[in-house]
């Protein structure tokens, strides 16, 4: 047990710091820390920043060197994320591409597929969205009804995906579709890569309770993609899709924990200013929130060490989603109490639209976080059955 940097980690930390010192200036520094899951603030600037990061291989850190990555260890990824957050650099725009699709592609893709897609992700030229959920495939995710059939050298896709984050920003979608029409459940599915910009695809924004529309409905009407654009074997898509969810649980938490830490620091500052810290109940809740976000970090570090040591994720990893979504929701609720009556007022003129401030947005958006990427109830089933070995619910 040792939380000091090794000499290699320290050198890596120095390199990142120097790079950020030099590049995080001007318009990039100006939007520092802004952006996030429910926030498209400064999107174009953030895309430009992503290109800058990619040019120096800070995108795709963990990828093998032959595909342009740095083959960084988990510890180095932790270091990168720490320094990135400390520098208050802009929120990243490539979560679905770099964070979810790329590791799945590296695990299951052909050499040709990797060479086709990875560089575009690294250089911020192509963004991705995740086509999993459907109107009738929510918690029962394998109940996919979107179908694809081969027509010559192309797949023809019909159906609908929903809750597709940033589909309106993406050039590509990785989608789980039914390629065996006779199949049911998790069998007979395939994992396709589909270009968004085509006549057969319509993206409709879904206006959420936040008043914004980061989620979308995506309609496929004879949409097409090349026959080669299948990841893994045809019919084996469920396994590939689950691998993506594994990556979602893996290192993705890092930058998130740091973003949460920053949100809490901001709230504590607000509480100092408006006098809320004099209220003993608020003090208790702020401290509880602090404990929660620190433990999120400790859990994450234990998970990564376990992964390095044992090669597989341990029980501490499966609690991640359940833990952070619950924490963030409580944090949002606490923020309203810290702000008091001011929490109920939206900035700007009464007819200027529904423009939430950052804390109001967290209060609302966090309601989606205990639902998406496996609702908390589903997470508890997974923990109960796969980690604790409790019997399955009869189905």
């Amino acid at each position: 047990m040792d939380f000091h940097d090794t000499p290699e980690e320290a050198a890596f930390r120095d390199e990142i710091r120097r790079w950020l010192d030099e590049h995080l200036v001007g318009e990039f520094a100006a939007i520092g820390g802004r952006g996030g899951p429910a926030d498209e603030t400064g999107w174009d600037t953030r895309v430009a920043w992503e290109k800058l990061l990619g040019a120096d291989r800070w995108v795709g850190l963990s990828w093998p060197e032959e595909y342009g990555g740095r083959a960084a260890s988990f510890a180095e990824q932790v270091v990168f994320n720490e320094e990135y957050a400390k520098a208050d650099a802009p929120a990243r725009v490539s979560f679905f591409g770099e964070g979810l699709f790329a590791p799945t592609l590296i695990a299951y893709g052909t050499d040709e597929q990797k060479r086709r897609f990875l560089p575009k992700i690294q250089h911020g030229e192509e963004f991705w969205c995740q086509g999993y959920s459907e109107p009738n495939a929510g918690s029962d995710l394998s109940n996919v009804q979107t179908r694809a059939v081969l027509d010559g050298d192309e797949w023809v896709i019909n159906g609908q995906k929903v809750w597709t984050t940033f589909a309106h920003r993406a050039q590509w979608c990785f989608a789980v579709v039914r390629t065996d029409p006779e199949s049911k459940g998790s069998k007979g599915l395939s994992y396709l890569m589909v270009p968004i910009d085509q006549p057969g695809i319509e993206v409709r924004p879904l206006k959420q309770m936040t008043g914004t529309a980061e989620f979308n409905e995506v309609f496929f009407t004879d949409a097409r993609t090349a026959a080669d654009n299948v990841l893994g074997e045809v019919g084996d898509g469920w396994k590939v899709a689950m691998a993506t969810l594994g990556f979602e649980r893996g290192t993705a938490f890092l930058s998130q924990q740091l973003a949460f830490q920053r949100e809490l620091a901001g709230l504590i500052e607000v509480a100092h200013k408006n006098g809320a810290t004099e209220d003993s109940s608020i003090r208790q809740q702020l401290t509880q929130s602090y404990i929660g976000v620190q433990i999120m970090k400790y859990n994450g570090m234990r998970m990564l060490t376990g992964l390095v040591k044992r090669g597989v994720l341990g029980p501490e990893s499966s609690i991640g989603k359940l833990y952070w979504s619950k924490w963030h929701r409580s944090f949002g609720e606490l923020a309203m109490h810290v702000l008091g009556p001011a929490s109920q007022i939206i900035d700007g003129e009464p007819d200027a639209g529904y423009q939430l401030n950052e804390l109001q947005r967290v209060f609302m958006f966090s309601r989606s976080e205990t639902i998406y990427a496996g609702a908390s109830e589903i997470q508890r089933n997974i923990i109960g059955e796969r980690v604790l070995g409790l019997p399955r619910e009869p189905r």
């Binding site: 939380f3 400790y298 508890r380 923990i383 409790l390 399955r392």
Partner: protein, 376 residues
Amino acid sequence: MNFAFSEEQDQLRDAVRKFMEAKSPSGEVRRHMETVEGYDENVWKQMAQELGLQSLHIPEAHGGQGFSFVELGIVLEEMGRALLCAPYFSTVGLAANAIMNAGSDAQQSELLPGIASGETIATLAFTEPDGKWDASGITMEATGSGDSVTLDGTKMFVIDGHTANVIVVAARQPGTGGEDGISFFTVAGDADGLTRTPLATMDQTRKQAQLEFAGVAAKPLGEPGAGWAALSKTLDQAAVCLSNEMVGGAQQCLDMSVEYAKVRVQFGRPIGSFQAIKHKCADMLLEVESAKSAAYYASWSAAEDNDELPVVASLAKAYCSDAYFHAAAETIQIHGGIGFTWEHDAHLYFKRAKSSEILLGDATYHRELLAQRIGI
């Protein structure tokens, strides 16, 4: 960055777990908890002689093995899991740390070897009848100076105070208040003028006593009047030790609950297949794993003796207290009627969880302390 135990540390855990399984099964816990002394002298000797548990983190120069709080935490976790009835937390977690923090080299040489060898049972007497865990709770005055000091007053809620042969006492210089003027002393368990009264405790697995001092001659430990820093650090270290102990108990509660949920059949199927029970167990796992992360990180910080210790000690104590009590309470609920009986072990953990939560300050107390420590 490496957040895992080493192979040697895993071996230590295995050895301690085997020892606890052999020496502290439920039957033994129940036998000792009903005695006034509350422990088995032979087991105490074996702990020292066979496993060297009392000497673990005492420096080699003073008869110890020079390991760190990480190893100590492992041992305490296994003891907590088995509800070991022994004056280990008081002797090693409280007294030895106080002596190491406050004592001169000569005083440490005099006091620590006895603890390391298992001959000395020791404790720290700092709380008084008002039950406060901070400096303001210390009102006992030490009169006289140099080597001729006498103590008068009452110490209360002293863990294993009736069986300890060395008692480390925190008292204050007349006319001082708050964190100023606090001094440490040592007093022999059989000192003239000391009346020790064992208290009947709700958690029978951890004994407490009332100690009345009437003109008791005491030996100074450390610098007179400057004891608060050492006491505060001792309490932080003890909070880390206790957090690890609580984690062991919480894990045992989870294990008992999951085991029972797999075998208890109602409505024709194991109750663990119902989401109502499954989700309780999942939440317990989340809290137990998180408590481990907090306790282990705090152990490392104590081992490093770094600036983070006060923050992570209170953080761990607050979180582990809540997690253990919640796990113990859910264990009763999941077991249903059987969990409410004297015969089942669930109540032993429930009671230990509550006594540990209260000991050294409950979660609310530590959250406020933490708020101050992080500048809220």
